[in-house]
Point group: C2
Chain length 338, copies 2
């Protein structure tokens, strides 16, 4: 029963010194054995390796990288990894980061703010920079994020003195609504997410007003930002605004839900109802009819985000001004739902 040994190993992780002592050699020799360097006899190497295994020794990464070269890590902050928007963005980010030999740590804020704060606090200590969408109602994070270079992905003014990629919805939404009107739709509704009217909804309203299109309170319905929210919203919309012949949906996840909601309500898409989502996610191609959507080039977003981070880290990018706040717009991808 070697419990004494185990107890000790719980108190302190073995270091290279412990291995050296156990093997009866110096620490440099341990380094040679472990890292496969030359200038060491096979016999010694074996002895060291055995000692290391016996002690369950693994080198301290911090010490290794301190003496070695610098390695950069960036944190990718998401609201909920189960919303497919984030994995699609993460996919590009991880791939492009790998090309620079950067690693990306994913931080899922989850739905409850409390754990999200803890997670963020821990993240900023581990990374060289942060990129991600930050919900507006959590500006408390400003403090935390002040300690690390950050690129915010957002649709609104967030912080003038912080690098950010502005997602400009006006261009895309205008294109989508132009298209709907041009194809003969007249009663255009909107399915929004969350409590406050989103920026996307405001743009929609402005468009309807500017173009003299019919609008009433019944034109808009708001629901949870989930697939089920989309299902519910479609039913509700169908009840409260039966004349609607087109709908712009907050995002693709909800739009795919709306497709299902309309199908259940006997509303044919696109014959009776044109549906346009936002984001351009892969899931839009899974469903029938396939979803028409305002697609964001997520690879480009990831690319630009990494460029910004590189600029900040190297000190060549000013933290405010137009260069640190590029703008990105959508492209209307026409498929079957509109």
């Amino acid at each position: 029963m070697p419990s004494a040994e185990n107890d000790q190993s719980n108190l302190r992780r073995p270091t290279i010194i412990d291995v050296a002592q156990a093997a009866g050699v110096s620490r440099q020799t341990v380094t040679r054995a472990l890292n496969g360097l030359p200038d060491i006899s096979q016999q010694t190497r074996t002895r060291v390796l055995d000692a290391a295994k016996k002690l369950n020794y693994r080198p301290n990464r911090a010490a290794q990288s301190l003496v070695g070269g610098r390695s950069v890590a960036i944190g990718f902050v998401v609201n909920d990894l189960r919303n497919p928007y984030y994995p699609e963005l993460a996919s590009s980010l991880v791939r492009l980061a790998a090309e620079r030999d950067w690693s990306v740590i994913v931080c899922d804020l989850g739905r409850q703010p409390a754990s999200g704060n803890l997670a963020l606090e821990s993240l900023v200590r581990r990374v060289d920079a942060v990129v991600g969408h930050l919900p507006h109602d959590r500006w408390i994070w400003d403090d935390l994020l002040a300690s690390v270079p950050t690129v915010i992905l957002d649709d609104a003014q967030f912080d003038e003195n912080r690098a950010r990629i502005e997602i400009d919805y006006a261009v895309g939404i205008t294109e989508a609504l132009d298209y709907l009107v041009a194809s003969g739709r007249r009663n255009v509704a909107m399915i929004d997410a969350g409590g406050e009217p989103s920026r996307r909804r405001l743009i929609y309203r402005d468009y309807l007003r500017d173009h003299g299109l019919p609008w009433s309170n019944a034109s808009e319905v708001s629901a949870q930002d989930t697939h089920q929210g989309g299902v519910d919203a479609a039913r509700l919309l169908h009840e409260q605004y039966p004349a609607a012949d087109a709908v712009l949906v907050f995002n693709d996840v909800m739009a795919v839900g709306a497709l299902k909601g309309f199908a259940r309500a006997g509303v044919r898409v696109p014959q009776d109802m044109a549906v346009i989502g936002i984001d351009g996610l892969d899931i839009g191609q899974l469903v029938t009819p396939e979803l028409t959507s305002l697609a964001l080039d997520k690879t480009e977003v990831a690319h630009v985000a990494l460029e910004l981070i590189e600029g900040i880290l190297s000190g060549t990018l000013p933290l405010s001004g137009p260069h640190s706040q590029p703008r990105m717009t959508h492209t209307l991808v026409r498929r079957e739902s509109a």
Copy 2:
């Protein structure tokens, strides 16, 4: 034109010493100012902060964590983050890891093995442990992974001396096929992925043989492990095996594709054809009809994986034997497609 200064800062990152010199104080004082510690005059603090900002100084994380406490990072290796199976698993993994204050670095191997090797090589230097699905045809990675504790998620014997979670498909597939037969299906086909018959396919074959169910070469079709692959496979199957009234599909991504393929071919699901996928992904609920699937509890997989890693890192888990190789099975989730 302060290019000389910039050139220098490109050569070497500024350290705490540089800041100290620029501010005319000692390094400890810099630490106090930067970390918001007491025992420093407001004036000195400001001077230090200014110097730090001017030099674009950010503390070296490696040095910080070397002196501070240990922080553990695990690497999550995936084949392709755009396959929704991985994000769902990642979501649980990230959440559960956060509870232990562990961070997870995502490594996407991509489709080309070459870049995958580079990515892995870089990963193992940055993490304390690795978890993930590793394709069988890449055993070359054994060398790389020998250097870091690894938990493999797999359906086959991979390495007896490595911790792994065995995904036992036999239980679930038997349940699915039992269910199909019990509901009156007789001509059960299989849509497989990749070149070699998968383990899942072999289990399917055995079942058909053991139960005296009709089988021929036409019962099986293999396609790419993508949504489009599923679409293609369904059409092909419909042509080469018109009598089929049920099909087990390699995974949900392909199954959702198959749903689309059958719809296009005028095959009604589930009336003419029962479809069962594998994985139990969220996307199965997006489509119509909703997909019946053999669901894997991905939260449980993540949980067990982290337990294994904890055991390995603390040295309390033997690297071979049943305790380090738990088994996981599927549950048949009945929805609409079967």
